[in-house]
Symmetry: C2
Subunit: 148 residues, 2 copies
Amino acid sequence: MSDKHMTRSTPEKRPFEDAVSRLREAELRPTRQRLALARLLFEGGNRHLTAEELHDEARQADIKVSLATIYNTLNQFTKAGLLREVTVESGRAWFDTNVSDHHHFYAPETGELIDIDLANIAINGLPAAPAGREVERVDVVVRLKPAD
Amino acid sequence: MSDKHMTRSTPEKRPFEDAVSRLREAELRPTRQRLALARLLFEGGNRHLTAEELHDEARQADIKVSLATIYNTLNQFTKAGLLREVTVESGRAWFDTNVSDHHHFYAPETGELIDIDLANIAINGLPAAPAGREVERVDVVVRLKPAD
DNA sequence: GTACGTGCAAACGTTTTGCAGCGGG
DNA sequence: CCCGCTGCAAAACGTTTGCACGTAC
């Protein structure tokens, strides 16, 4: 086996490989743009972003991506289960890199979203879903306002 | 006390008077359009409507109202506490004539919203609001899908 | 009469789409 | 080489706004 194409696995390299395999598992071709966006999204913990915010981040990181591609990518990632869409406001979609079952605090004035772990919360006595339907997901949004 | 301005309270007359006083209490001038919309909204129990749906209903009832006025009116009614805005989908605002504290089932395919009474549901263990903030409202949305 | 409401059309912000060209496998 | 992806611009969508006119009080 030639080592002509082999590269040493440096610590800095890891995220790149992670992003590649993440995309492959989701059956999405690891294109330049998707890789770049995946790294922005998934490095550095749980994040809540709008399309516009991700676009700005990409620009700041000197990644050339059109807003249309941002939207396409966010929707594809969501469909593939890599992201979760959070609906707290009509007129703006938020995307959450935390795809586990959880809930949110939402502060309208700042647009801030804060995760609430499922372990912290119990919902009892929910009526059964109407006939012919089943529950897909329960979303709890705790709307905040500045304290008096 | 003169009965000069008194009108016999016929069953058909009530809703009109109700709508008038409802608007007066909310400090909104009872104009032709606001009255007509108020009657469409508040007669016949709890309703969940989008602006577009209310506009269509008005057209069918031969009420001439522009879409802009529908939006203005829905927002004014909401601010006045006569309606409640329900956010279940980014890109479309729903208005609920039930302003009491309650939650919703939501069926995306049909756009159907079904009230869940607060009595039926208990939420325990919610973390405290972050510092400097307080909880304004807790919204629970149970997203439905067609049964398998 | 006057302040407020309405209608219309145009502007807005977000999201989607159509199509020519690029690039990953 | 081929099919899927990207970029751009334009369109679509729900919603808001500016301004002239109308109307409740």
